[in-house]
């Protein structure tokens, strides 16, 4: 830190804080909003390239950094999935895909997509960019910690990527890393690979915790005047609940990671039973592999909702804006998000029906699992009812939202099959499961991510993405994803097991050959079509149509900033004041079809708005 460090601070003057009961302004004034409770935030303004773009404390830049890093790992995950599909569709076509490599690809694809891509993108990327803007804060409450959070994530990604280059390669134990096989010699990458994976996960958890605390406190304690919890956009609700889940679920992952590293490095036996390896009895004994499964899935199931809840929130906002209608049942949507979040902590063992645990456990967890269908279905109905008789704009964003609803319902229905013990047992470890979770937590959230990028790209860059390319991208992705995952349900019904390197010697599976080949071809095409998207982004950065302010005519605060794209500190010298929820679209009596959250009631006297 140099001498000019102290000079760089606080060009935004802190406004004096007024206390809570200080009632300046009379109550009869319809525009009255309680005075500020907290003094304005002190910010560190970067001046050099390094403090502005690399070690930057601005949540918006950190959000972009998270997004780019997550997308980079996501592309690696995509390439790994191509390699897997090549082997499954056309075995031995590519000579270097051996059984060991195949397992490594499966493992790394799963871990990258779930943790390093989706979680980091939704919470780190969208969370950082949107939370301060949507709640009317200047920045995250602890910008420095926020910066460290990103760089921890960056190091975690580096460590993960390093495992591709160590002797033995990355771990090949499946993304669930089940012991004992994860650390036994027969598994690829049981040397350095698994250790690097565990270290990387631990770093990720530490880094995420720093970011997560920021998101939660910003939402709870740093909202602007007039912004009540029930006036927050559902995006913020989704990200908030997901972050709380993450803060309570990642500890279980952290603990299981520590215990497994000790098993691997020091030879403790937390998870390792007495076991033979290559005819020799190992030193291990007395540990419990099922304990790991419980710890892992206590993290793993909330993790599903850590990915899904932000998607639910974001898609609600996108649907509302692009069908020019308020979200149907806002309060119910909020409570559904919270209820799903709470329930997600009581369903973890539905991943373990065949693990040999007590059958009564299965009964309990099947019940809780099916209860989650209630708030989830409520959300789906509300999305559909929001669209009902709305003024739907068939933008690329809307197409992706519709794609989300369809794929999500599809994946949700197969989830009801798998939630029942008796149906799950014949289906477990088949391609039906693969189809289910890819539909529900792979494709569905991805549809939202794409929709969200098309929606907020104009805010981030000031330019619109190309609609024509966007529609091509949508139809390739949507139809392509269906032609990949829909046939997989059938593969599951005929009993094709997941995670098998090849299976053509079994006569009953020969009927799957044609399907597997067509799935592989579809996967290659869908993967390639993502480059339309990347091309669109690169092209639009330079040559996109200038978006101007608020191109979608949205109400939420992020579009009401004085500068587009928003500058550091977000709001210039005066924080916005909020008078309404973000869903006042097509209000009877109003001149425009939208009323931004910052519009005071005195300006829209004749509009018949709901009190929010």
């Amino acid at each position: 830190m140099s001498d000019d460090f102290y000079k760089n601070k606080t060009s935004i003057e802190a406004q004096p804080s007024r206390t809570i009961s200080d009632s300046s302004g009379s109550v009869s004034d319809i525009d009255y909003v309680k005075p500020a409770e907290v003094s304005d935030q002190d910010l560190y303004h970067g001046h050099s390239f390094i403090t502005k773009w690399i070690f930057c404390q601005d949540a918006k830049v950190i959000g972009i950094q998270y997004t780019l890093t997550a997308v980079f790992t996501g592309i690696i995950g995509l390439i790994l999935s191509w390699l897997m599909r090549l082997q499954l569709g056309f075995p031995e076509l590519v000579p270097f895909i051996t059984a060991e490599h195949y397992y490594q690809f499966v493992t790394m694809h799963g871990m990258i997509m779930v943790v390093y891509f989706l979680t980091a993108l939704f919470l780190g990327g969208f969370g950082n960019y949107l939370i301060p803007l949507m709640t009317g804060a200047r920045d995250m409450v602890f910008p420095y910690v926020n910066m460290v959070s990103y760089w921890m994530f960056f190091v975690a990604v580096l460590v993960l990527m390093a495992s591709f280059f160590v002797p033995g390669g990355p771990t090949g134990s499946g993304w669930t890393l089940y012991p004992p096989q994860a650390i036994l010699e027969g598994t690829p990458g049981s040397g350095a690979g698994i250790i690097l994976m565990l270290v990387s996960l631990a770093l990720f958890v530490v880094g995420f915790t720093m970011g997560g605390l920021n998101y939660v406190i910003t939402i709870l304690q740093a909202r602007t005047r007039g912004m009540t919890l029930m006036r927050m956009p559902l995006t913020v609700w989704g990200i908030f609940t997901a972050t709380v889940l993450a803060l309570l679920a990642f500890p279980a992952l952290f603990v299981s990671v520590i215990m497994m590293s000790l098993d691997r490095i020091l030879g403790t036996s937390f998870f390792m039973p007495t076991i033979l390896q290559a005819g020799e009895i190992l030193e291990y004994g007395g540990g419990s592999p099922v304990l790991f499964q419980h710890l892992f899935w206590f993290f793993g199931h909330p993790e599903v909702y850590i990915v899904a809840l932000p998607a639910f929130g974001i898609v609600s906002d996108l649907i509302s804006v692009h069908s020019r209608k308020n979200i149907f049942g806002y309060r119910m949507m909020v409570w559904a998000i919270v209820a799903i979040g709470a329930l997600s902590f009581f369903v973890w063992a539905h991943h373990m029906y065949v693990s040999g645990m007590n059958p009564w456990f299965g009964f309990f967890f099947a019940t809780t699992t099916l209860i989650i269908a209630v708030p989830t279905a409520l959300k789906v109905y509300n999305w559909v009812l929001t669209l009902w008789r709305g003024n739907i704009r068939m933008t690329t964003v809307m197409l992706f939202c519709l794609g989300f609803i369809v794929t999500f319902v599809n994946g949700g229905i197969t989830g009801i099959f798998l939630g029942n013990v008796i149906v799950d047992i014949p289906l477990s470890d088949t391609y039906f499961v693969v189809a289910h979770f890819h539909m529900v937590m792979g494709i569905a959230p991805l549809m939202v991510i794409f929709g969200a990028i098309y929606h907020w790209f104009p805010l981030v860059t000031g330019r619109l993405l190309d609609e024509k390319l966007g529609k091509w991208h949508f139809w390739f992705s949507f139809l392509g994803a269906y032609s990949i995952y829909f046939p997989m349900h059938y593969l599951g019904f005929i009993g094709v097991p997941r995670r098998y390197f090849e299976m053509y010697d079994s006569p009953y599976i020969t009927s799957a050959v044609g399907l597997n080949q067509s799935i592989t071809i579809a996967a290659l095409i869908v993967g390639l079509s993502q480059f339309i998207f990347i091309f669109n982004i690169v092209k639009s950065l330079r040559m996109g149509k200038p978006a101007g302010k608020n191109p979608w005519k949205a109400n939420s605060l992020e579009w009401q900033t004085p500068n587009v794209p928003p500058a550091h500190g977000n709001w210039g010298d005066k924080l916005p004041v909020v008078y309404r929820w973000p869903y006042d679209f097509n209000v009877p009596g109003a001149k425009e079809d939208y009323i931004p959250q910052t519009t005071p009631p005195s300006e829209v006297l004749e509009a018949k708005v709901e009190k929010t």
Partner: protein, 234 residues
């Protein structure tokens, strides 16, 4: 703290609902850092709970006999093995340090810089003593042949869990001690009075930081009480 306006807000469940429904903040008058520490501690509670529940699960299911803690953790005092002697002293020291920490917070808010600094220093020394005694306990057990992967008294998981859980807790204490020393220096230097800006964060220092530090320290003590109960008394 000294914000009298907070007294006028409604209390009880009604107050909770009012706060949740209000704009700007949910926890009225609560500093950002303090709120963050509480939520971090909640997350940390889940970590220690996972450790302790795993320990209970393994202890209940392990086949070999679990060592008898009164004997394993006994200390010879004038030729007589006294069960849990060292642990009792460790616990006493740690709980006492919680007391000095609480006093440091009080003197901090009273702007009594000297007294506050000395009490933080006392807390740090208490923590250091605790870590020192834990190191002594570890070396004694290691000397007797206890290792993470084996021990002469029975189930090998005894050693594994003992070193892992006390080690993880000890790490928490050590981190706390380091920060307490830093805080003691800052207090004596008058950073909190002057509102000096932090070296890394560039944010203004305030005495509330001592209270936040105190929250962490009391939490570490509370966790120790649970470890004490589940590991040494069970």
């Amino acid at each position: 703290m000294s914000d009298h306006t907070l007294d006028k807000l409604p209390g009880g469940f009604k107050g909770m609902a009012t706060d949740m429904g209000s704009d700007q903040t949910v926890f009225k008058g609560v500093n950002w850092g303090k709120a963050m520490m509480w939520i971090f501690l909640l997350s940390d509670t889940f970590i220690f709970s996972c450790f302790l529940i795993s320990y209970m699960k393994v202890r209940a299911s392990v086949v070999d006999e679990w060592p008898y803690p009164s004997e394993v953790f006994a200390l010879n005092f004038m030729g007589v093995p006294v069960p849990l002697l060292l642990i009792a002293i460790m616990t006493f020291v740690l709980i006492t340090s919680s007391g000095t920490m609480a006093l440091a917070v009080k003197y901090g808010y009273e702007r009594n810089r000297k007294m506050c600094g000395w009490l933080i220093l006392a807390t740090a020394l208490g923590g250091l003593t605790f870590v020192g005694m834990q190191a002594f306990e570890w070396s004694k057990l290691i000397h007797e042949g206890v290792r993470p992967w084996t021990n002469p008294f029975g189930a090998p998981q005894f050693g594994s869990f003992f070193f892992m859980i006390t080690g993880f807790h000890g790490t928490h204490v050590s981190i706390g001690v380091i920060f307490l020393f830093i805080f003691a220096r800052k207090t004596f230097r008058g950073d909190f009075d002057a509102g000096k800006r932090g070296f890394f964060t560039s944010m203004k220092s305030d005495y509330v930081a001592i209270e936040i530090m105190g929250l962490y320290w009391h939490f570490v003590d509370l966790v120790w009480v649970f470890i004490f109960a589940f590991f040494y008394l069970w």
